[in-house]
Subunit: 346 residues, 2 copies
DNA sequence: GGATCGGCTGCATTCGCTTGTACGCAGTGA
DNA sequence: TCACTGCGTACAAGCGAATGCAGCCGATCC
């Protein structure tokens, strides 16, 4: 059906086939094996031959065919970054996505690996992902922001493919991961509010099928425990809009609250808007603390007090973990420290 | 150096080789060709045989090997998304990146294509990109946010690989693209400020090696022309911090300015912070208009008046353009309309 | 001077799959 | 009954590169 461009719109030199190993060998007057050895930098090649081959390579502009190489070596030099995709329509400018994907890609490219980006959304697409990985397109995979209900991690772990996770998974022991100290960070945030003498401290939680949200909520509760304060919880999903809505609900539930700990900065930003609309001053009337310390936290009015989680570090660390797993066959999970950053909002 | 896992940490069933076409054929008692035809959904297969083959496939859990398939078909079903990467260290939560990569990935996966994400940063990495594409790893590529100085577009265009660009390139005619109406949008923004009776209208420009920044700056100048107002320009690089700094500089240059058009929302957000620090009220003292209408524009205080550019649309459109190019051998560039969104800041 | 050794090369096989071609079989018309 | 269609199937030839193995060479040793 395709092929020799019968009268297609592209005319002229229809991309004369790229030169092959064979062509280079012929040009250099040596065997294919020798060319292959030169290309792969094997030391068992006479300097003179190496020269001749290199000359032929540059002359012909030879580049080894990836598919052929993958086929025979059974390796692809490619790593999949698998990101759970929010339901369609909900296209968000999630800073997490940008930071993580970018940092991980950099680390992988530095290690000479190629990156295959996979969005795991619907069930259907998840089946595709499984097929894709089973087809041997990649040497390993890195999971990003999987929720607890997702069956993908378990499936992947069973394939025998080296896999690591960016963030702890609900099901323990499936694969190594790099996470940050959500519990410690959230505790510091709430403690800071307590230290300020805040009496009614609410929280806006993330989606509870994600461990980061669970950890942060639990730490909030644990830190409040024994202080005589009750916990006031609203549920969000880590988006700005959900933060704004949750804040509205919190104000309804307890109009006298004087502090809010949002489980991430995006929701904190949403909460700030609701508070402004409600005529509450921050931090005088209500103190707000976020989590993550995304760049935007520096630009809110007032600037956001938050917990710094080293996202770039975490992504790079996860990548290195995978590379280690690939090299050694094993790797140990890592927890990165978090730190309170005090600005204006609390 | 590697290979048969002499005494590596991974023990036990070392992933018994995946079944091959051959194995399925043997199990089903037919030839490999028949299995291949069934797998590829060719109609010239008897229903009975198809059944038997399918049974064997599911029984053995067969998944065709990607590399082998790519090798013989000379296609990879993979598209590269090539994003110019800011210099290391400068890891940003660029909303553009998230939106574009996500939208494009979705569109590609919907079309059954796999996505290869490539960060083009240093010169060295750019050479790698070229090699990668020449190695036949992908069927086509999509360029994102290339600056004018980047030689990559020209190189790629010469390889004969189908390539499209997200956003117009400085060098015209190299490849089709999808852009949005930067000129029209910027004109609307500035006109809005004029309509308000603003007298001293400044602008914060983006990096001038990008066409989007050029277009927006030119439209600013053209719109001001003939109104008796002079143009006041500061240079940014599309980041928040650069917006904040540029705003500081503008206030130095002309303390009496009463309006600013920032070439994107991120810089507008930075400008808002500087204005707040300088004690200027927005919009009473200084009106601010941004560009892009990223989600964050809804959450600034005051909410940002801006020009909506359909980023997700643009990314999806660029993807479809590439698919069309792949299918037809040609495709026409597209310009998407932009629209002024009036909120509180102007 | 002849056997041995070590360093390089080239040959042939292999990876797993697609596809052009030859061929078998049953059904049809003469 | 036989040649003729046609549909479907099996066979075999690659796709392009990596690699174990044999063989060639000159150099070394006795």
């Amino acid at each position: 059906m395709l092929g020799n461009a019968p009268l297609g719109p592209i005319e002229g030199v229809r991309a004369m086939r790229r030169p092959t190993l064979h062509a280079v060998a012929a040009r250099a007057g040596v065997s294919k094996s020798s060319v292959s050895r030169v290309i792969n930098g094997e030391p068992t090649v006479a300097a003179e031959i190496r020269q001749i081959v290199m000359a032929a390579v540059t002359e012909l502009g030879y580049v080894p065919n990836g598919a052929a190489r993958n086929l025979v070596t059974q390796k692809t030099n490619t790593i999949a970054i698998i990101v759970s995709d929010p339901p369609a329509g909900l296209v968000s400018d999630d800073p997490m996505f940008a930071m993580v994907v970018r940092a991980a890609s950099r680390e992988l490219e530095a290690a000479g690996k190629q990156v295959s980006l996979v969005l795991a959304g619907s069930d259907e697409s998840r089946a595709r992902v499984e097929q894709y990985l089973a087809a041997g397109h990649v040497d390993g995979a890195m999971l990003v922001s999987m929720d607890g209900a997702d069956p993908l991690p378990a499936v992947l772990a069973r394939t025998g493919l080296p896999v690591v996770s960016h963030g702890r998974l609900s099901t323990p022991g499936l694969m190594p991961y790099v996470d940050n100290d959500n519990v410690g960070g959230a505790a510091k945030a709430v403690q800071h509010l307590l230290d300020q003498g805040r009496q009614r401290i609410a929280t806006i939680s993330g989606p509870l099928d994600m461990t980061a949200a669970q950890d942060r909520l639990n730490a909030y509760r644990d830190t409040l425990k024994g202080t005589g304060r009750r916990s006031i919880v609203a549920l969000g999903d880590f988006t700005r809009i959900s933060g704004a809505e949750a804040m509205r609900q919190l104000l309804d539930d307890d109009p006298r609250l004087d502090a809010v700990f949002a489980a991430n900065d995006l929701m904190a930003i949403g909460a700030l808007r609701t508070l402004r609309e409600a005529g509450r001053r921050v931090p005088e009337d209500v103190a707000v603390v976020g989590f993550d310390d995304i760049e935007a936290a520096l630009y809110t009015a007032p600037a956001l007090t938050t917990v710094r989680s080293p996202m770039g570090e975490q992504a790079a660390g996860t990548t290195r973990l995978l590379l280690e797993l690939l090299a050694n066959g094993s790797a140990d999970s890592v927890i990165l420290p978090t730190e309170l950053v005090i600005r204006e909002s609390a």
